[in-house]
């Protein structure tokens, strides 16, 4: 959805349709390991042919949730339904689910084709059919010429594709992927990401991907569920998560953000003014906020939504602040400016490098004005 193509998937945002039946329904699932609550009262609906990403830092419970879907762990309480069927007590080998493991877990004593054929052999599929399906699968992941190799004779990217082929060959309705791109280098990751999405379009499988990498989640997912300390904090499309985070954790976890603490000084039904006294600036937000008048609030401002320049904006009373450039990181496509405010805090600003060789470019120790649109700041109450 975010690779620029027009989405052609069967998923037409079914989560907005209250009538739609979810394919996977997780109801109030909690998982405890001794005193530790790994997954805490999680409820989640995933729809057919979605590519759902569970995103969170290590230890947030995302992998445990995935393992409960696969059947390696039983929920301490709550229920998991897959295609309307309660999964309680159903062992992994009887579930209509396949998983791609983070370590790939390829069988070291079997060749590539035997690894891929393994799942089909368990179902006593006729040998000829096994041969055909394995060949077709290896063709799909472009490994036909490596069929006879052992896993240790393959590169990381090839192993990853074998693991993918092995988990897809049984044509599962649901595929679970645990950090699928974690072990790959950057170039390989990007190409594999798109490969995964193509496969999903082609095969119509429902994917649930666990990752700690927000970039991976943003490119892959139809929706993202952000997890923290066993809870699902927010569920939404990548743009919802990025542009409308529900709290500081999500805003901070996804992308870079400048967080200003402040209080409401003036409010109405269609606007609100928030003073960030510590940083000496006032935010004018072009929509109303439901918060008690004196409560502490935060305004999250993404670096790319801030304009930077030497000239002062027309109105210097609000939505702007003055500072000095303290650091510049040239990234090629964009430059990241670290601007030091009078209060001493740093604000990150990114600016696309539109011109190849700019005369009079911004440089270190320049006095600059930062200003932004009234719609740019996200007001967060928690």
């Amino acid at each position: 959805m975010h690779d620029g193509r027009k989405p052609e998937r069967a998923v037409d945002e079914p989560w907005r349709n209250p009538e739609a039946t979810p394919y996977i329904s997780i109801r109030n699932v909690t998982k405890r390991f001794g005193d530790f609550v790994a997954v805490n009262d999680v409820s989640l609906k995933v729809y057919r042919q979605e590519l759902f990403c569970l995103l969170g830092g290590s230890g947030c419970g995302k992998s445990t949730l995935l393992r409960m879907l696969a059947g390696f762990e039983e929920p301490s309480s709550g229920q998991i339904f897959i295609d309307g069927q309660d999964m309680a007590g159903i062992p992994p080998y009887s579930r209509p689910v396949n998983m791609m493991f983070q370590s790939y877990a390829l069988f070291p004593h079997m060749s590539v084709q035997d690894n891929v054929a393994f799942g089909l052999k368990q179902d006593r599929t006729p040998l000829k059919e096994i041969r055909d399906r394995v060949a077709a699968m290896l063709d799909l992941v472009k490994l036909s010429s490596f069929a006879k190799r052992k896993p240790h004779q393959l590169s990381g990217g090839q192993r990853q594709r074998v693991a993918l082929a092995r988990s897809l060959v049984k044509a599962p309705k649901l595929l679970l992927l645990d950090e699928p791109l974690g072990a790959l280098d950057r170039k390989l990751r990007e190409s594999t990401q798109f490969e995964l999405m193509n496969l999903q379009d082609k095969l119509g499988v429902t994917f649930i991907v666990v990752t700690h990498d927000q970039e991976e989640a943003m490119t892959l997912a139809s929706r993202i569920g952000v997890m923290n300390q066993g809870h699902i904090v927010q569920v939404g499309t990548p743009s919802e998560i990025y542009e409308f985070p529900v709290n500081r954790f999500v805003a901070d976890f996804i992308g870079t953000v400048n967080m200003f603490a402040g209080r409401i000084v003036d409010e109405d039904s269609n606007y609100v003014r928030i003073a960030a006294e510590a940083d000496g600036c006032t935010f004018f937000i072009d929509h109303g906020v439901s918060a008690s008048p004196n409560a502490q609030l935060w305004v999250a401002l993404r670096p790319e939504k801030i304009n930077i320049g030497r000239e002062a904006p027309a109105d210097t009373r609000e939505n702007c602040v003055q500072g000095v450039i303290d650091g510049i990181a040239y990234m090629g496509d964009v430059s990241v400016f670290n601007v030091k405010l009078a209060s001493g805090r740093m604000v990150k600003v990114t600016r696309p490098n539109l011109i190849r060789r700019e005369e009079d470019t911004l440089t270190w120790d320049d006095e600059v004005w930062l200003h932004w649109h009234p719609a740019s700041g996200v007001v967060l109450t928690s």
């Binding site: 696969a70 059947g71 390696f72 062992p91 992994p92 080998y93 009887s94 689910v97 396949n98 998983m99 493991f101 370590s103 877990a105 390829l106 069988f107 070291p108 004593h109 393994f118 799942g119 368990q122 179902d123 052992k150 240790h152 092995r166 988990s167 049984k170």
Partner: protein
């Protein structure tokens, strides 16, 4: 010198392993040796590698050469009871007489061939029985709660704290006609006459399997413990039941441990002398015992040496085969 050197010897010994080494370094013979070594242009790691080689050379290679030499000598009724190989035959000539008769004698008398065969048979089946008993034990240990593994491992090694000889003697008390096992069975009324177990092959098997079982369990355990358990999860995920996953995944990944354990039992069992001597009877003609008889009863040192050399060659052949097998098993992954 460390602080330890100023302390009296007793205190230094009490100061643990470091104290003991520093105390040992003060003893005159070792001090002389260390001083001599220090004068050689050797760095520390040369000494670390060199010392075991020195040890092996002194206490293994030299005796081996002596045995090899005796195996080519003639038997004499003299002191020592063998001829020397190198003679000043006539003036200006050195003659080297190699008597290969000892080896041809081994081939001509079926006693030796049978003894070798019996040794291989007993060692092989002992190793097999150890494998059958040891595998489930190692498997259970490797899959047990990590907190328990150390304890279980210690229990496997625990018998080593008692003298080997003592433990074999203890089996006599168990297996005798009026030993514990027979007494209990008779007491329970299960049998009327004692079962003859002592001085049979059965007793030898019991002794060898009992003594060498830890050598089978330890390498098996280390192989099984290292195994990536997500492989089993992956198998289950692909529709494989746990029992079948054991046979298709765990077992095919066990050969390194199996080969190591099998050799660790088979090779020492092949030359085993104490167990067949104490527990076995006349039917158990193992090569270790034949060697003993030749050497001490018949004073046939050259023959005994030839027996030993032939056995060593046998072991070398087996070890090379094992190495190749392990390499093949290793290439599987």
């Amino acid at each position: 010198m460390s602080r330890g050197s100023q302390l009296p010897l007793g205190d230094r010994l009490a100061a643990g392993p470091r104290g003991i080494t520093s105390a040992l370094a003060q003893l005159p013979p070792l001090r002389l040796l260390l001083n001599a070594l220090a004068r050689l242009p050797l760095s520390g790691h040369h000494a670390v590698i060199g010392l075991p080689y020195l040890w092996l050379g002194l206490f293994f290679l030299v005796p081996f050469v002596i045995v090899l030499k005796i195996s080519f000598a003639d038997q004499l009724i003299a002191q020592p009871p063998y001829s020397s190989l190198v003679d000043l035959a006539t003036e200006g000539y050195i003659s080297l007489k190699l008597n290969i008769g000892n080896y041809t004698f081994l081939g001509s008398d079926p006693l030796y061939f049978n003894a070798y065969l019996k040794s291989v048979e007993i060692a092989f089946f002992s190793a097999l029985i150890c494998l059958v008993i040891g595998y489930p034990m190692a498997y259970a240990m490797a899959r047990s709660d990590p907190a328990w593994r150390g304890v279980l491992l210690m229990l496997v090694v625990l018998p080593f704290w008692t003298s080997f000889l003592l433990r074999v003697y203890a089996w006599i008390g168990l297996l005798n006609n009026n030993g514990i096992i027979n007494n209990v069975l008779i007491g329970l009324g299960l049998i009327q006459e004692p079962i003859v177990m002592m001085r049979t092959n059965f007793a030898v098997y019991v002794g060898i399997v009992y003594s060498y079982l830890p050598f089978m369990i330890l390498p098996l355990y280390s192989t099984l413990e290292k195994m990536d358990l997500t492989l089993l999860e992956a198998a289950e995920d692909l529709g494989c039941r746990p029992l079948k996953a054991f046979f298709t995944i765990t077992l095919p990944l066990s050969p390194p441990g199996v080969i190591a354990g099998f050799s660790l039992v088979f090779i020492p069992a092949l030359g085993e002398f104490v167990i067949p001597d104490l527990l076995g009877g006349t039917e158990t003609l193992m090569i270790g015992k034949v060697l003993w008889d030749e050497f001490f009863s018949n004073r046939a040192w050259p023959i005994a040496s030839a027996v030993a050399i032939a056995m060593l060659s046998l072991v070398v052949v087996i070890m090379v085969a094992q190495k190749m097998l392990a390499k093949y098993a290793g290439a599987e992954r």
